[in-house]
């Protein structure tokens, strides 16, 4: 057990200061083998963002990265440099496949202060970025490059390190009904190879393996679902609905694929994804179909092109069943909420992650929106969480870290058999023993059904 008092810097919210969060400066992929000779350097570059950058500058930046990696290799042949810290920005290097390099350049957060003479003074916050967070982001970029993910670097934190999956809590019977539904659909639409089921952007069932689901989940929750928020919010009487008189019996609709099934020219194009099976990558079409808050992903082999007829059949098979199921889940969820909701708002916030099933749970984060994931706590506290996590990664043993942060906050990190729990407590004048007791209480109420050491 370690106790540290983290004297975080004075409040950055002073009036005359302006703060700028970290931002993506550039992102590029290159392979040194593609243009080894002078004058052909441009061939090395496979992708460069932003594309408007002048060609020579691109080549210069790539060349610099190459040089740094080569140079650092002399010191550590097996583990070349992962990041380069400079005053203004930080560069992250990742070699996911041999000779293929992905580089991400992130600008450090900036505080703009007014000097006495009124001139703005820019201060770079070099130490604010956590290497681990952003190298995780970069690794996920590789995993997701098929998904054309947009990066939201201003809101990366601990959850991005975990890359976890939030599971929807559900009673056994409703869960079995969902199982039954999936099995029936897979039977009647036999080209469907894998299925995943989500509710409220939380996972309930994955037919994919864990690692593939992790990436798909990230894509769905940070990219696809947020993009489709608007029609959802518009409600059932939205014009989109009115265009489809065929499905008055249900609320199902395609999130990927044809918008209007009655349009004979509707395009049946679905995004393609790659999943990792035993021997090779498997290419699949991703069909995402949603009714109310329940979303189902159907994955079919990329060699089979889904037709409009197939989509209509899927709509007629899945739509009515999924609508019923979604309202069942909603009902069950409300019953459960009523049963547990009697307690008053707790005095703490927590983040939980289990490496074994990638389950994550956070009361720190609000619902994710297309652009930002909102946290309800101060960024300094989030940084402390990141630091504790780095400490945890260094040792294999179970351990516990309690940090007294500025103001009245206590931050507790616990690690027990591949599970991590971070608790943020706000209790005035609490001492170490009291904090420890609080956390014990939390474990007893929130995690009583798992083996979590005190």
């Amino acid at each position: 057990m370690a106790v540290a008092a983290a004297g975080a810097g004075s409040g950055p919210w002073a009036t005359q200061e302006k703060q700028f969060p970290p931002a993506l400066l550039s992102f590029f992929i290159y392979n040194p083998r593609f243009g080894p000779r002078e004058g052909e350097e441009e061939n090395k570059i496979l992708f460069y963002h932003p594309n408007e950058v002048e060609k020579n500058e691109k080549i210069r930046n790539v060349g610099l990265c190459e040089a740094i990696v080569q140079f650092t290799r002399t010191f550590s042949p097996s583990k070349p440099a992962k990041s380069l810290h400079t005053q203004k920005n930080r560069q992250f290097f990742n070699e996911p496949e041999e000779h293929f390099w992905m580089v991400m350049v992130v600008r450090n957060p900036i505080i703009e202060k007014q000097s006495k003479d009124g001139k703005p003074v820019i201060e770079y916050q070099e130490e604010e970025l956590l290497d681990k967070v952003y190298s995780s982001v970069l690794q996920q970029c590789y995993s997701m490059y098929k998904y054309l993910q947009t990066l939201h670097l201003q809101s990366c934190d601990l959850l991005d390190i975990f890359g976890g999956i939030s599971f929807f809590p559900l009673d056994k019977m409703t869960y079995l009904k969902i199982q039954s539904f999936i099995n029936r659909v897979e039977e009647s639409l036999n080209i469907v190879k894998y299925t995943a089921f989500l509710y409220n952007d939380q996972l309930i069932w994955s037919g994919l393996e864990q690692d593939d689901m992790r990436i798909l989940y990230k894509y769905l929750t940070t990219s696809l679902f947020p993009r489709h928020m608007e029609p959802e919010l518009a409600g059932r009487d939205s014009p989109i609905r009115a265009e489809m008189p065929g499905n008055l019996q249900h609320y199902g609709r395609f999130l990927t694929g044809p918008l209007n099934l009655n349009d004979p020219d509707a395009k049946c194009r679905f995004p393609k994804i790659f999943v990792n099976t035993d021997d090779a990558y498997e290419e699949l079409h991703l069909i995402v179909y949603k009714a109310m808050s329940a979303a189902v992903c159907f994955m079919i082999d990329a060699s089979i092109q889904p037709t409009l007829d197939f989509c209509r059949r899927l709509d007629s098979v899945v739509g009515p069943q999924l609508t019923v199921l979604a309202s069942d889940i909603c009902e069950q969820f409300n019953i459960n909420k009523r049963m547990s909701g009697s307690e008053k708002e707790p005095q703490f916030k927590f983040i939980y992650f289990n490496h074994m099933n990638l389950a994550e749970k956070s009361t720190v984060h609000m619902r994710k929106t297309p652009s930002v994931s909102l946290t309800s706590v101060h960024p300094d506290l989030m940084k402390i969480l990141g630091d504790i996590n780095s400490d945890f990664t260094r040792v294999d043993e179970d351990e516990e870290i309690i940090v007294k942060a500025m103001s009245d906050y206590w931050v507790v990190g616990k690690k027990s058999d591949r599970r991590e729990l971070y608790v943020i407590l706000n209790q005035k004048n609490a001492n170490l023993i009291e904090v420890n007791e609080e956390v014990k209480k939390l474990c007893a109420t929130q995690f009583n059904n798992i083996f979590f050491l005190d």
């Binding site: 099995n183 864990q210 074994m356 099933n357 798992i450 050491l453």
Partner: protein
């Protein structure tokens, strides 16, 4: 109790009693009746006297009906001594079996009929012995009660002890009486609606068109109506009037025959069997199957297509030498057949009495709708093995049913299963509450063959099914989950061997992530055997260890197991913290923990553990030293060797 040929002679009385009334010859439609009446009367007359049917009673000014249902029947039920009978029935079954290729006869005559020998006319008198009306020593009867009524004809049902009297000119007002414990009670009379008939013929209710039988525990009066009352449909129909113990008789069911001609009725295994002489086929009706309800009456259609009764070969009687003769095929649907309720067919010309039986196996292929098939089978007496074979069949490669069908079948099975479990439970609760003495109505629920529990399904269906290599594993898992879903839906606790079957199947196909998700949502219920199974999977799937520990924790009766698991993983400190957390640290063996700590070769850990137990000794016994009973000498020596004597805790005195 239907008569069986194997019964000793002395029990003939019950048989005779039943045969008293309630039989029917082929019932022709009304217009034919006039034409046939002469022949009919002759045949009846041939059987002679007693309470003569037909004109005799009707002409009588007032027939007094005594409570004792006395009747004389002229058929002598003379049976051969058993040995002869055995010889007569000794014909090998292979001979009796039809040489037909068709396998779908769902009705058959019993293998061992009662055989009548030719006899001189004998008058037999039948008495109701049970009601203590017969006084054999005085050779007299006791009059219980008398009612004066104009009676055309009557019918008696011995099973329910109800007599039905036909009154009024049209003969269609029926007056039932019920006998019970020496008393006779008059039930409300009711009228049978006669079909509209041409003016030329006077409509009347013929005795032959009426039968009484118990179907699903309820007494029904069955009326064979040759012409439907509604003009648009021509076929004959059977109308079932429900005759309750109390209250008025009510028309409940109409069985649509869709044909005309001569019919005869039987009731077998709660099924109404209607024989049709013209086509020599029979159909069956099940009033529990869903029909069309028009607000007051339910209309039923035959459950199955019409089929003949399975051809029957008359076994050759006589010495064994003659059995080489080819057996004589029996004429089925012969005009000499007489049927009695519920399931008796007598061939007057050949001298046989059969019980009609239903064969379930051929029905499986005649009823393609599996849900309806299950509804039908679950109501039959000898259904268990047939149902299990249907289940196996629907999971076989060639006849594989779709998942919704499989789900329906499981739901129907579990619905029956749950009904039985509930009855058992309320019985057990009532017994516990001591109501068994006060309430004589309390009876232990009967477990019928329709109750198929988890071990039946596991043993006969699922265990063989998961072994089939050619089955896609997706289907196997879907079926298992469907069965578990169905059990859960009926709130039946799932047995752990079903969970083990799921785990086994998932592990065989390396579907560990699927298994993980099932456990995460507690689809596979916690149990110690399951936790141990998970522990054994750790080498194939590391997260199984965590899942197992979680499960042991939830069981809350497996704390010792948790400690063992942690110690085996060399997590000595974790084990100690766990046991301290649940307050069990005063009773644990110091030696066990010190052994484990020493094995880790982590001296600091050993120090910590050692010091913990020294402190425990101090707290419990006032001295940090270990007692000889704890067998820790070796560890004390080890501690001294590494940390020196001075590191041992000193006894503190207060």
């Amino acid at each position: 109790m239907p008569p069986r040929s194997s019964r000793p002679r002395g029990e003939g009385r019950s048989l005779q009693h039943r045969v008293g009334r309630g039989y029917g010859r082929w019932a022709p439609p009304q217009p034919d009746a006039a034409r046939l009446s002469a022949e009919d009367r002759r045949s009846r007359g041939g059987r002679g006297g007693g309470v003569a049917p037909g004109s005799g009673v009707r002409a009588g000014p007032r027939a007094a009906v005594a409570a004792a249902a006395t009747t004389t029947v002229r058929a002598g039920f003379h049976r051969e001594p058993r040995s002869t009978l055995a010889a007569a029935l000794g014909a090998p079954t292979a001979v009796a079996a039809p040489a037909m290729g068709e396998e779908d006869y769902y009705l058959e005559l019993c293998e061992r009929p009662v055989q009548f020998e030719k006899a001189n006319p004998v008058n037999c008198v039948f008495f109701d012995e049970a009601n203590k009306q017969v006084l054999p020593e005085k050779r007299s009867l006791k009059l219980l009660k008398s009612h004066n009524l104009n009676v055309n004809w009557y019918m008696y049902c011995p099973e329910s002890a109800v007599i039905l009297l036909s009154t009024t000119v049209l003969e269609n007002v029926l007056q039932p009486f019920h006998f019970r414990a020496g008393t006779m009670s008059k039930l409300p009379k009711f009228e049978i609606e006669l079909p509209a008939a041409p003016k030329s013929t006077k409509p009347s209710l013929s005795e032959r068109d009426i039968a009484m039988a118990t179907v699903y525990g309820q007494l029904y009066v069955l009326f064979l109506r040759h012409h439907s009352r509604t003009s648009n449909s021509t076929g004959a129909e059977v109308v079932l009037y429900h005759l309750p113990r109390e209250g008025a008789c009510k028309k409940m069911h109409i069985l649509k025959l869709n044909r005309t001609g001569k019919f005869a009725l039987n009731v077998v295994d709660n099924l109404v069997v209607v024989h049709h002489q013209d086509t020599e086929t029979s159909v069956i009706f099940d009033i529990k199957l869903r029909g069309e309800f028009d607000g007051s009456v339910t209309f039923h259609h035959p459950v199955l297509p019409a089929r003949s009764i399975q051809p029957y070969q008359i076994p050759i009687a006589g010495p064994a030498a003659v059995t080489s003769q080819s057996p004589v095929p029996c004429k089925l649907y012969s005009s000499s057949w007489i049927v009695f309720q519920p399931d008796i067919i007598i061939s007057a010309s050949q001298g046989y009495l059969w019980n009609l039986q239903v064969k379930l196996e051929p029905i499986v292929n005649l009823l393609p709708d599996k849900g309806r098939l299950m509804d039908f089978l679950l109501q039959r007496k000898e259904c268990k093995m047939v149902i299990l074979s249907v289940c196996s069949q629907m999971l076989s490669e060639s006849d594989r049913a779709s998942l919704p069908v499989i789900a329906t079948v499981f739901d129907k099975l579990n619905h029956e299963y749950k009904k039985y479990l509930d009855a058992e439970q309320s019985y057990a609760m009532a017994v516990e509450a001591g109501q068994s003495r006060s309430s004589p109505l309390l009876k232990r629920p009967v477990r019928t063959q329709a109750v198929l529990d988890q071990s039946d399904v596991y043993t006969h269906v699922l265990s063989a099914f998961v072994e089939k290599k050619e089955m896609p594993h997706k289907f196997v898992i879907a079926v298992l989950m469907e069965y578990i879903r169905s059990l859960n839906q009926f709130q039946i606790a799932v047995q752990h061997y079903l969970h083990e079957l799921v785990i086994k199947t998932l592990v065989q196909h390396n579907l560990f992530y699927m298994l993980h998700q099932f456990l995460q949502y507690h689809v596979l219920s916690d149990s110690k055997p399951l936790a141990c199974l998970l522990l054994s999977l750790e080498s194939f799937y590391p997260p199984a260890h965590q899942l197992s520990l979680d499960m042991l924790k939830r069981l809350s009766t497996a704390n010792d197991e948790i400690v063992e698991v942690l110690l085996s993983k060399h997590q000595v400190l974790a084990a100690l913290r766990f046991i301290r957390g649940i307050g069990g640290h005063d009773n644990i063996s110091a030696r066990k923990f010190l052994d484990a700590a020493k094995q880790t070769e982590d001296n600091m850990l050993f120090y910590t553990i050692f010091r913990f137990f020294e402190q425990r000794n101090q707290r419990l016994r006032g001295s940090p030293n270990f007692t000889p009973g704890e067998h820790c000498e070796e560890h004390v020596a080890f501690f001294k060797q590494i940390f020196g004597d001075q590191a041992l805790m000193r006894p503190t005195t207060f």
